[in-house]
Subunit: 348 residues, 2 copies
Amino acid sequence: MGPAELETPVPVVDLDRLEANIEKMQAYCNLHGLRLRPHIKTHKSAQIAKMQINRGAVGLTCQKIREAEVMEDAGFTDLLLSYPQVGVGRVSRLAWLARRINLSLYVDGEVSFETATQAAAAAEKTIGIWIDFDSGAFRTGVQTPEDAARLAKSVDEHPFLIFVGLATYPLLPRSADFYAEFVALWGRPVGFSGAGTPTAWTAHETKGLTEVRQGTYVFHDRSTVGDGSATLDECAYHVLSTVIARPTSTRAILDAGSKSLTSDRVSPSGGDGFGLILEYPDLSIVRLYEEHAVVSVPDGHPGLSVGERVTILPNHVCPSVNLHDRLQTVRSGVVQAPIEITARGLNR
Amino acid sequence: MGPAELETPVPVVDLDRLEANIEKMQAYCNLHGLRLRPHIKTHKSAQIAKMQINRGAVGLTCQKIREAEVMEDAGFTDLLLSYPQVGVGRVSRLAWLARRINLSLYVDGEVSFETATQAAAAAEKTIGIWIDFDSGAFRTGVQTPEDAARLAKSVDEHPFLIFVGLATYPLLPRSADFYAEFVALWGRPVGFSGAGTPTAWTAHETKGLTEVRQGTYVFHDRSTVGDGSATLDECAYHVLSTVIARPTSTRAILDAGSKSLTSDRVSPSGGDGFGLILEYPDLSIVRLYEEHAVVSVPDGHPGLSVGERVTILPNHVCPSVNLHDRLQTVRSGVVQAPIEITARGLNR
């Protein structure tokens, strides 16, 4: 069976490209002596995580505890939660994980520090701690090297916590400055973990970096093509869609909407609209409804007749994957066994 | 157990409000002699569909065949697919449905007409047909009353198809003009079905209207509050979230991102940002990551300390529901049994 026989809209992964992407990132990390701890938020799949570990990844990065629980259940033994853990309800779940696997956590302040100490004490096991710092995402993380050093000292002095190093997202030129200032205060080098596929191929230029947590590179998407970190030929994930209507000569309607592609916009320079139609890169998906994509078509354009199938490269692959229960796969034009999205929707 | 004990981020439905919303829309339709055939795309739940039918809804509206298959399996016997059906693969599935239930379909042109005739022939049963017309969504549907009449004639002459009437989304003043022009051509009144919660309460002013297919009204959201079709007190669906970080005095980070809320913007006049924080309606969620919401906080603002829980009204409830596997419910402050989102993610 070929992908043309799959009912649409359907997410399809090219296995050759997926494997090549995993191999390429691992080879890059090996060449530069960087440990690769891929972020599973992109694929949420134990099967793809296994491919990454088998190629040489040192462990996995998860965002939410439930993702880590699923990966622990699938047999993975070294997990980082790159997310501040807050709340009493989390302590027992973190302790449960810490007893079974090598668990590392983010600490960015008093509350996540308290949660980590309580979890380690409850588990009676050590937990590795990365100090989260803000390098320009304006998201979580301590703001100054001085704050990082104060927090690192508290961690270092705690009997159950192991201070591993500093971690940030995304990896930007100023990340290296922050790390260097920290090391000057701390007196010796520590671990240094960065992330973000857009800056993945220049990560080795970041002085002191020891580890990376890329996610999107397994599939790539219109955003990573737009920022130059991938080519169109490296994109391994597409949504196949069918033209369901041609109400006018200048409008075509596809059966993939925001419930297949997400309404995420492309960032930052990948073009407009809600995804790239590979067969008609000149056309734009100008509007998305939940189950409809509206394509603007120049009058007289010969393509997009009703029933025609097209291949959409989503703007942002991670939330698109998270809409589906499984991914169809293809190799050399032949449909293979699907990949279950094991941790789909698990955000607690 | 109260909702404060649920781990976040978590979608929570207030059952009293849900029931009141269902009751209010049904009472409105009863008062004005409109048949209500609610769209299940909002809740994708057999349990909520049953509440709607029990109050007096005449049947259900589904977008995709898989949704209808799930609703057939749950025991519903009158289903409309308000979506052009295209492709050979769909014929046998539509026939399967037509043999078991009262099935109606949209026809908007030659291909969906062919699909409907083939499905009816394969089922050896009649199928009700609505002619889909474009009243200003610029989505699917025929463009002129003349085209509608031509298509209606083909349907009317087919032994297995029953011409029911005209259907459109959204319901706008021009919808009534289109219908009136059609009736002038056709020579007698036919069914007339409209949809869209924003214009739901003035639907009775649309001359000739016989049926409505509202969806969002069961929960409402920031968009329907923004357009005046609901009050904040009628909103039955919220996402509970926790402040996980306060990296600076002007920034708070919540644990609900685009994988809990969607990145849909509010339309058209409901405000900016990615959801309304009920406890702090003056604050704005300025940016969403997959699992983070970034809230801009005025310096010195007393709220949003780490660990504090907040209640978010999403911009658009339908795609938010579709991210979760089940909805937690609450009545009078006490957590009740969850509602399974039976048709979650089913878009084929």
